[in-house]
Amino acid sequence: MLSMILKMSAVTALYVLLTALIWLRVRGRKRSVAQKLLIGLIYGGCAVLSTHFGVDYSHMMLNVRDLGPLSAGLFFDPISGILAGLIGGIERYIAGTYWGVGSYTRYACSVSTCLAGFVSALMHIFIFRRKKPSAVYAFFMGAVMEVFHMYAVFITHRDDMNMALYVVRVCAGPMIMFTGLGMAASSVALQVCAREWRNPFRRVSAEEVPVSQRFQFWLFAVTSAILTLNLLFAFGLQTQIAIQDARDTLVNVSGDIRDTYVKLKQTEDNTDALAGETARTQALAIAEAVERLGGVEHADAAFLERMREVYRLVSVASVGADGKLIQCAGDAPSYAAMLGDVLSGASESMALNPSTVRAVAGARCGTGMIRVVVDKDQLAEALNLSGLNEALSYFHVGQTGSFDIIRSNGLVTAGEHRDSTLTTDAIRTLAAQPTEVFFQADLLGTEALCRTEDLSDDLRLLALLPMDEVYANRDAQAYESGLAGIILFTVIYVLISQLVQAIVVNNLQLVNASLHRITRGHLDEVVCVRNSSEFASLSNDINQTVSVLKGYIAAAEKRIEQELEFARTIQDSALPKNFTFPRRDFELYAAMDPAKEVGGDFYDFFFVGDDRLALVIADVSGKGIPAALFMMRAKTAIRGLAESGREPSEILYRANNTLCEGNDAEMFVTVWLGIIDLRTGRMQCANAGHEYPALMRSGGEYALFKDRHGLALAAMEDMRFKGYDLQLEPGDRLFVYTDGIPEAIDENTEQYGTQRLVDKLNATRGEPLRQVLPAIRRDIADFAGGAEQFDDITMLGFAYYGSEKGGDGHEGTDA
């Protein structure tokens, strides 16, 4: 037993090692057909080796051949599994048929090995969906495959259940366990190799357990319980039936034997004559023997005694011619007178029946006589029993049972153990048991169901049926229905769990996927799982909720839209719109075209004193209400500082520090600021991270003026900005803008860029600014085509005409 366990463990461990090695070798790679076939060949070879190097146990060769195709199919590829199964199975059949290797189970073995390949392939594809099975599933795969193997042994030997039962009894336990454990160990080994191994005893919270797993667990528990109960019930019933059958057999056989015995006993009545005749024949025979010795005088007591024993007589006596007793063996009744005729020579021999129990006969021996006395009962018994033995040889108790007729002293006088004697223990047991009652005892070397019956005062009939035979049928049935139950249970389990997967889990996943899309903002997603009333109702509820939600969102959007619209209006109204000035020495035009969402662009212009005009263009980072509010702050700060007469760089420095305060939203604003003295044309400028201005000198072309840059306002405190001066001559033009222009994109996300801007500016340089700016806006719109405008488009154009043109236009100053 221990040696078998060790050997089987070693073989199984080799399989596990092989699986782990092959897996490590081919892991992660896409396997070619050749590789799949090679794996199939390797495992097929292993299956063949398993066939020929089985482990000897109780005259049976145990093996784990099915591990080959199962491992190949479950852990590698369906093709490998099928190939290994076919190789192992077909070779098993050939070995069984032609080479006499385990030919008794060749059908069962070869079929189950072939099937193992196909089953593992199907399971791999449809149940495990090309993932590694967990250790528990792997165990059951292996174990159930071996269960089928055992069941196949039964099916293929319907006519020889005893042998099949023996084979299954020996093989079932080790082969099922080791194949199951081998698969489980392989699964664990692969999981460890793949670093997917998790401690199965770790407590998992309910959230982590999928519905299907919980369902499978309970399905497993319930079906196992039902299966076990069913088996126990059937086993109990079978036990009852087996015992009842055995009792019936014993009663019937005992009855028949008793009948036979009684029938033969009835012939006893006819034995008076027979007894006399027997006595006479025996007397003659002894007389003859005595005569050979030389007459009655020569027959001593010892000889007579021997004769008495041989012929089982009550007494043997030699009588002289005078009628006197010479020698006597046994008690010597005085029947001499009755045999006077023999002695007188009137007859050779004669028999008398002087009493109901004895018969007497005499035979002439020379001048004397031999006289014998026979016990009629004993004679009848001897005669009966010899007939009985012959008659009894036709009886049998089951196949291995026996019956015996036993004397009270333990001597078996008839039956299968005739002429042997029971052990004292057996005699005691037998004596203690009442008759015609069934009891279980070991009387003749095996535990058996026994029954006794008294045939006479001295004789007792014992019929017994060994327990092995009593339960043989029950055990075979139990094994068979147990194995069939496990197979049936597995099929039902797999089918139901697949059904649940299809009906519940897949639907849940569909609903979940839809919900996932909805939570990602696709509110138009419709949940449509309508293959059961519950899911249809769930789908409806979700759809309804989403549609109500959509209504709320739409309402909220509308409100926000309105607020943004207000914000946009307020923002817009904060920008100066009056571009007509009561003087001719400059021309100014600006425009802001907000994007869909309110943004933070702004422009501004205002007089600082009589002849100094401040121009501002700015872009707040970000969008929406925060940007709009920040823009208002920035605009107010710059205008306030500028109006106090400071230089642009100083204005930006102070505005920066003002804006940095409490700038928790970490917004910033790029600003270009220029203050021109309209009398001299000198423009003091400063740039806080804003786009380069485009400058056109009188008679020349526009070009970007790469001015000195500082960091955008509100980004860092205490930043110093370096201002610069621009000397504008009459006819010069300056164009500033926000990044909405160069970064406007077309449908291919190509940017408008500064070059297109400069080109367009040059193309329209002769026109009044009032027309130039809308032309640029149109050009950008044409460029963008269908692309959405992301950013505000803000621009400000300034043309300096100086006093030469505006001499007569100095209305403002004049006035």
Binding site: V620, G622, E666, F668, H690, H709, L711, A712, M716
Partner: protein
Amino acid sequence: MKINKNLEGNTLTLALEGRLDTTTAPDLEQAIKAELNRVDALVLDFSKLEYISSAGLRVLLSAHKAMAQKGGMKVTHVSEMVMEVFEVTGFSDILNVE
């Protein structure tokens, strides 16, 4: 926009791919915020960045300020176009651009 994270020791490298504008800037902000407490240094790989808008600059600015107290923030593989934006906005003066 795609953000590829790579944490080596205490240095987090975020490689940006695509456009960093108003719609995608919150993603980057989220990604930086999520890791800020765990890392000492931040590297932004701009080799595949196509465009940066002012909203993107805002995220860079706040990240820069947050990292200034730790191991600092570095911007690497800046394309010409993005560099132009940095220069125009003055960010090139404060950011550590390589």
